[in-house]
């Protein structure tokens, strides 16, 4: 692809992901929020492809947009929590809290903006490197074997934790 078409893809995906994020925040129905978030994740997966990260893009779609969001939808529907407490339903002191939140986020955006547009990141674009799943796997199992093992332990701990959490006591059953 030429640099012009890459730029158009970036602008399109940036618009899609940001508007999906805004819609996620504004949706009253939690199921709609989850679906907007899936759109957001998918748009970012397209950007990963543009950024020479095809394997990460596929992982993003299968694990994030697929598995994690299905888990979210499952819990929302299990609890019947679709309509609980939208952004409205403000009472009393919460208005004050919301104003503080907006000011904090505005400061966050201004901070990022100052850093990006003053200093920038410097340096030119480097050559495209080999980022195929093979290259990524070699890097993972050569340089990052120990973190990989630790991740396995983390997942095991998560499995045990979830099993303990959600187990009903025998008296209740």
């Amino acid at each position: 692809m030429g640099s012009g078409s890459v730029f158009i893809v970036f602008i399109l995906m940036a618009l899609v992901s940001v508007s999906a994020a805004v819609m996620m925040l504004l949706s009253k129905n939690a199921v709609h929020s989850a679906l907007w978030l899936v759109l957001n994740f998918t748009a970012i997966a397209v950007l990963y492809v543009v950024l020479n990260a095809p394997f990460i893009a596929m992982v993003q779609i299968t694990v994030y947009a697929g598995a994690i969001m299905v888990l979210f939808l499952f819990v929302i529907m299990l609890l019947g929590a679709e309509q609980l407490q939208g952004i409205s339903g403000v009472h009393g002191t919460e208005r004050y809290h919301r104003a503080v939140a907006f000011v904090l986020v505005a400061l966050l955006v201004v901070g990022f903006g100052v850093v990006i547009f003053n200093g920038g990141t410097g340096g030119g674009e480097t050559a495209v490197i080999d980022a195929s799943p093979v290259a990524l796997g070699l890097r993972l199992f050569e340089a990052y074997v120990l973190p990989f093992e630790v991740t396995g332990i983390l997942l095991l701990a998560a499995i045990i934790g979830v099993a303990v959490f959600t187990r009903r006591k025998k008296k209740e059953a």
Binding site: S17, L47, L51, Q85, G113, L154, T166
Partner: protein, 101 residues
Amino acid sequence: MELTIDWYIGLSAILFSLGALGVLTRRNAIIVFMSIEMMLNAANLAFVAFARHLGDLDGQVLVFFVITVAAAEVAVGLALIVTIFRSKKSINIDEINLMKG
């Protein structure tokens, strides 16, 4: 226009800020959780953009780990939400103040 890394970092910053806004303003625990996922995703986008910029695979490997940890975090977090909902019949984070001093 030249598509430099600054554009990606800018998009990442916007998405992160929107996620932070969601965490701070929404009261539904599940939506708060989804906003946290969006912030993790914004960080991942920055990682991949820097990996492209620096011509180094390490950023992509790190994203791989972040996604794994996020999956574990979601499983535990949703289990917590289900457990809280069972006992309190609510997932409004303002009503979950059992441990308040």
